[in-house]
């Protein structure tokens, strides 16, 4: 399968037809989509028209941009003008946004060709894509198993070759965990480097958009296009996204790498920790120094996350009330209509988190729950900062296990939440982290290794990821 870097280079040089590239991918969709269910909505016609337009522009001597002719799949919580955006929720069924998310505008402006909207856990709440109102996505490596979540559709789309790259969103691991389970690269960039405008909010202080790809270089290319300041997002950092691609071959010689002790013990499968140690060895062989490091506060990450994220979600999801758009269930009074709409429109996991968050913010409980969670957040940031005084990057598993069978964890929310124990602390700190495929577990399924870096440490994070990628090839 072609990489995004190769496609863009070929199309820009006039050696590849964007339309032919698109058709190659759509053929794979035809063959496997019924089985995988990566998409909520395909936009083949618009994609063909866009690809044809690109080919015409190249023929006319124009350069369509750094992603010329690259098919891209979009998580269905990114607003796309004229194309349904559902968040895999009944409550948004039939809603068509009148505007497009900044990241999608930037992709299209760079020549990318959106092919469709991918499945997710409803409102990005989940770790298996089983919480989708439209049915789960299946893991292309083993269709009896989950692809991870919440961005399961975007991860599966890349793993199945439906698109070389896709976008997801990561609030507590929703890009990195499915990337690990589907054997692809997934990046959560530093909070504030990628605009959230047009991303349907889950936990606003944690949400970041990022890419999935087959290669580290493709992820870098996409990030360079979608990243950088957006005046439409008040939490967007000033300046442009750092140029990562040009440093991919810099190597890790002299880099100090720390393995996070707290993420290598209880609850993490032995075959997964073995792959992390193998990754550390590969980095050491490439000239890095490797040590274990304790980042104590990360053990409170899960608890803090399940107060902060639901609290913000309880407020963010209040707007789905049947008054202005989406589904409405009629009732005698406005209040009863809202209640009936939300009861019918939201799935169980979403309701669970709204209730959890509402409780955490309630008068008399705020200090004990939300307030304390904010303090834990500060502690986690502090402990990470201390670790980054001694290390350039940190290493850990992305997910505690490889892909698990459908239904395995749906009965026990806590077991499902534990999937994100290694990814959540990064979101709480606002730091970047990425998952890189690094071999397989005992079951032959992909294992992802997580590379963590300090805020705005994307260059060193990608250098490390590139070395890991090179060592398993």
């Amino acid at each position: 399968m072609r990489t995004a870097v190769d496609i863009a280079a070929g199309v820009r040089a006039g050696e590849l037809s964007a339309l032919e590239v698109l058709d190659e991918h759509l053929e794979r969709v035809v063959l496997r989509e019924a089985e995988i269910h990566a998409f909520n909505h395909l936009t083949e016609e618009a994609a063909r028209a866009a690809a044809t337009g690109l080919d015409r522009r190249v023929a006319a001597g124009e350069d369509p941009g750094p992603l010329a002719g690259v098919p891209v799949a979009l998580k269905d919580n990114l607003c796309t003008e004229g194309v349904p955006t559902t968040c895999s929720s009944r409550i948004l069924e039939g809603w068509i946004p009148p505007y497009t998310a900044t990241v999608v505008e930037r992709l299209v402006a760079a020549g990318a060709v959106p092919v469709g909207k991918t499945n997710l856990d409803e409102f990005a709440m989940g770790s298996s894509t089983e919480n989708s109102a439209f049915g789960p996505t299946r893991n292309p490596h083993d269709v009896t198993r989950v692809p991870g979540g919440s961005s399961g559709g975007s991860a599966a789309a890349v793993a199945a070759g439906f698109a070389p790259v896709s976008l997801g969103s990561d609030t507590g691991g929703s890009i990195r965990q499915p990337a690990a389970l589907c054997g692809v690269v997934g990046v959560k960039p530093t909070y504030g480097t990628v605009s959230r405008l047009g991303l349907v909010a889950f936990g606003s202080s944690l949400d970041q958009i990022g890419p999935f790809s087959a290669t580290v270089a493709d992820a870098a290319l996409v990030l360079e296009v979608i990243g950088g300041h957006d005046p439409g997002d008040s939490t967007s950092l000033p300046g442009s996204f750092p140029s990562v691609s040009e440093h991919l071959d810099d190597g890790v010689s002299g880099l100090r790498v720390g393995i996070v002790t707290e993420m290598m013990g209880d609850g993490i499968a032995a075959d997964v920790t073995a792959r992390v140690r193998a990754a550390a060895d590969a980095l050491a062989a490439a000239g890095a120094t490797v040590e274990e490091v304790s980042v104590r506060a990360v053990t409170y990450g899960l608890s803090a996350y399940y107060l902060v994220a639901p609290a913000e979600a309880s407020s963010n999801l209040a707007r789905y009330d049947g008054v202005r758009y989406g589904v409405r269930v009629e009732a005698a009074t406005a209040g009863e209509m809202m209640e009936a709409t939300r009861t019918a429109g939201f799935g169980d996991e979403v309701k669970r988190r709204i209730m959890l968050g509402t409780y955490a913010l309630s008068a008399g409980y705020y200090d004990a729950f939300y307030g304390k969670a904010l303090k834990v957040r500060t502690l986690i940031r502090r402990d990470f900062d201390a670790a980054y005084e001694r290390f350039d990057v940190l290493l850990s598993p992305t997910s505690p296990t490889t892909a698990f069978p459908f239904g395995d964890k749906t009965a026990d929310p806590m077991a499902m939440y534990l999937n994100d124990v290694c990814t959540i602390p990064t979101n709480l700190a606002g730091h970047p982290a990425m998952s890189v495929p690094f071999g397989v577990g005992d079951d032959g399924l992909p294992v992802g290794v997580q590379v963590l870096a300090p805020a705005l440490g994307e260059v060193v994070m990608f250098r490390t990821a590139a070395v890991l990628e090179g060592s398993v090839r």
Binding site: N77, L78, C79, T85, C87, L92, W95, P97, P98, Y99, A101, R196, L197, G198, L199, V200, A201, G203, S204, S205, P231, G232, D233, S234, T235, A311, E312, S314, S315, A318, R319, D321, V323, R324, Y325, T333, A334, G335, M338, T358, L361, S362, A363, Y366, Y370
Partner: protein
């Protein structure tokens, strides 16, 4: 109902919401304009569409700082918070407001009487949309259906929370008038209560005069004019005093003012108050204006009404309270320039108070005004003639000389007044006797008769002097 103010004291604290005069909304580029076809001043943020994000309007912050400085507040680092509650005209089902850290804290405002009223805070927040309940009594509970207009949703508001320092309905009215003058002076608001760009909620309690503790308060909503506010306060105070007098307790409530019926009715009691679940809005960053911005705003502030009143009082020697009307009419500059040009301050103020209610009066040429006052004080024009000339100056813009000449105005000298006065004394012996017995009011009768006989050309003061001389 009325209240014996020798026994009772009313304690009033006002919360005033003012819409800020920005071009666009507080957190989006949708236009901020009163009225319009329903749901036309909207965009994704105003509608609370999925994925929409707020971007703070810098001009709204600037206006908030202007008001804060004009109200002697500390302008500080502030944080936006979400106030969560479900209502159909609240598109996100939360309102972005300021909670723990308002942009303006701890200031005061001076009433024309000289009394200072404390300001607890003045914070930024977004307005809601407007609901129209169709059928039933026009209230949501028994409506057949409701219509929502989001044109107003997201319009920037400044909520100005006053301390419970007011003691009478008149004082409360003076407070709102003063606040409105300040808001208009700094360009923050058009101050139109009837269009809802200025809205007042009243917290009212009563206590026995001499008590130091506050009574239990009720909040009154739906006040649409100063007059309604005065009536609502007096009604509510009497209602509470009646309760206490009959041995009952005042219960903390929010009450609705019904202007037609002239009474307040229960809206909700404290027990069913919402839990707003405030928390810092993660979509926004804190505002820290910093000393440079604040000082730039301060330097650009116009002179405020209270300072103008003090200035006018000092330079005319008038009582402070007397200056309020002149400043409110915007005639203080005119008066001061006329006084500087040599006009008699007392006559200048009198004319500004009584003879210059016309909106065009502020456009008078102060030199010409001063000249007119000089003609009056020199005795060249009578008070009546002066008043007529002044009105015509406002109308035509002509100078006082020209107008007086056109009408043939000139004050009669006392020589030609004497035969008229003597004739009147002779013709009205009874009145003359009463005047001689010390009934000063009768002087007015004679002056009036002289004016009638001379078609207003006589100088009233000269007539009085002549009468006194004749009495001996």
């Amino acid at each position: 109902m009325s209240l014996d103010l020798d026994v009772w004291e009313i304690v009033i604290g006002l919360e005033v919401h003012t819409e800020l005069l920005t071009r666009t909304k507080l957190f989006s580029g949708a236009v901020n304009r009163f009225g319009g076809e329903p749901n036309t001043h909207i965009d994704p943020m105003t509608l609370g569409l999925p994925g929409a994000l707020p971007v703070l309007n810098e001009h709204a912050v600037e206006l908030a700082i202007r008001v804060g400085l004009a109200l002697n507040c500390t302008v500080q680092r502030s944080v936006f918070a979400r106030k969560n509650y479900f209502y159909p005209d609240q598109p996100k089902n939360y309102q972005i407001s300021q909670y723990e850290l308002p942009i303006n804290a701890d200031g005061w405002l001076e009433l024309p009487s000289g009394k200072r009223v404390g300001i607890e805070r003045a914070h930024l927040e977004e307005d809601t949309g407007k609901s129209t309940h169709v059928g039933g009594g026009g209230r949501i509970h028994d409506a057949r259906y409701s219509l929502v207009d989001l044109n107003r949703a997201g319009v920037p508001l400044l909520e100005i929370v006053g301390r419970p320092d007011l003691r009478t309905a008149d004082e409360a009215k003076a407070y709102v008038s003063e606040l409105r003058s300040i808001l208009v002076a700094v360009g923050a608001s058009d101050g139109k209560m009837e269009e809802g760009s200025l809205r007042v909620d009243c917290n009212v309690s009563v206590r026995h005069r001499g008590d130091s503790d506050f009574g239990t308060r009720c909040e009154i909503k739906n006040i649409n004019s100063l007059r309604a506010m005065g009536r609502a306060i007096d009604y509510e105070a009497a209602r509470q005093a009646d309760l206490i007098s009959s041995g009952e307790a005042v219960v903390q409530q929010t009450r609705h003012w019904n202007d037609t019926e002239g009474r307040t009715t229960l809206l909700r009691s404290k027990e069913d108050a919402d839990d707003y679940r405030y928390f810092p809005d993660p979509d926004l960053v804190e505002i820290d204006p910093g000393p440079e911005w604040i000082e730039r705003v301060r330097a650009a502030l116009p002179m405020l009404p209270s300072a103008r009143r003090h200035r006018l009082a000092e330079r005319t020697g008038a009582e402070l309270e007397r200056t309020a009307l002149v400043v409110e009419r915007g005639l203080d500059e005119l008066c001061l320039t006329a006084v500087d040009a040599g006009a008699d301050p007392e006559r200048v103020l009198t004319h500004a108070e009584h003879n210059l209610a016309d909106e065009r009066a502020a456009g008078l040429d102060p030199e010409a005004f001063a000249q007119l006052v000089a003609m009056e004080t020199d005795g060249r024009l009578t008070a009546t003639q002066t008043k007529a000339v002044l009105a015509e100056m406002v109308d035509t813009g002509d100078g006082p000389d020209a107008i007086a000449a056109r009408h043939g105005y000139e004050a009669m000298d006392s020589g030609s007044l004497e035969p008229i006065v003597d004739g009147l004394i002779e013709a009205n012996p009874a009145e003359w006797e009463r005047f001689c017995d010390g009934d000063a009011k009768v002087a007015g009768f004679f002056v009036g008769q002289v004016m009638k006989a001379t078609q207003g050309k006589a100088d009233g003061k000269a007539v009085t002097a002549l009468l006194n001389a004749r009495r001996g």
